[in-house]
Subunit: 158 residues, 2 copies
């Protein structure tokens, strides 16, 4: 998680990526859509290209102009943004919802929920737990042990 | 989205919240789990309480000690973190997965996917599109119009 945030954990980067995933691709389109300063936009686009979320490619010869399109990696990030947008709309859209995902066929708003592809069940306690993986270090093992102890204590309380 | 990130868009805040959602609650537990400096931890916990994601409550009288537990708002953020962790594990865990969500009953790793509660379908193009909501301002309306135009152009290419 930390490594993901190092790459896209900045508000502008996430908003640029959200727009790019929706089909915005040209510099002036991003600028207009986000109201972002050109120097910040240039820097964030370069960082997203560098991190592998966007690909920069020419779309015009004279003068040369580039557009920015999501890579496979960038597209795979879409569910995170969908979950994040939905959370913001649920809680911080005091004056109403400005934008959201809707089903194209019906226009009905999507209600995003994170489920396990295998079981179809929402991923949350108590059905799903945080566990150490094969490359867990001492810090993770200590955390997992602490959490198992807490779960045991809660079960004991019941 | 911007408003959510203003509140929790910092790597430490997200990692503290991840731990809190898993049952970590005491100051020294967070410190040990994350290897975070005490002054940073104090500041981030206060900010998460201020933003309404955590509740601070006493668990001991002499001396008074407090623990930090997720509020309803904090718990509702869990799916965002689940999607974020899964993305990080898919792409940035070069040396293997340190930690992940598993089904408690079977121990099998969860494969998080964001679906629409109503239809069960994954929320992604072309089934789902970004649309203006009731409180859309000029900026959002312009973006939605631009995207609709791009979709039309793509359909025209086919």
């Amino acid at each position: 998680m930390g490594r993901t945030l190092e790459r896209v954990g900045d508000t502008w980067s996430l908003m640029i990526l959200r727009d790019a995933l929706q089909g915005v691709s040209k510099f002036d389109q991003f600028q207009k859509s986000l109201g972002v300063a050109p120097n910040i936009l240039t820097q964030r686009l370069a960082a997203l290209v560098e991190a592998g979320f966007l690909e920069r490619r020419p779309y015009q010869d004279r003068p040369v102009r580039h557009e920015y399109v999501p890579t496979d990696l960038g597209r795979d990030f879409a569910p995170v943004l969908t979950a994040l947008m939905a959370f913001g709309n649920r809680h911080f859209a005091a004056e109403g919802i400005a934008s959201h995902m809707v089903e194209a066929a019906t226009g009905l708003p999507a209600e995003p929920v994170v489920v396990d592809r295998r079981t179809g069940k929402p991923i949350g306690a108590p059905d799903y737990i945080y566990a150490a993986g094969p490359a867990a270090g001492l810090e993770v093992l200590a955390r997992v042990a602490l959490l198992a102890e807490k779960r045991g204590a809660r079960l004991g309380e019941v």
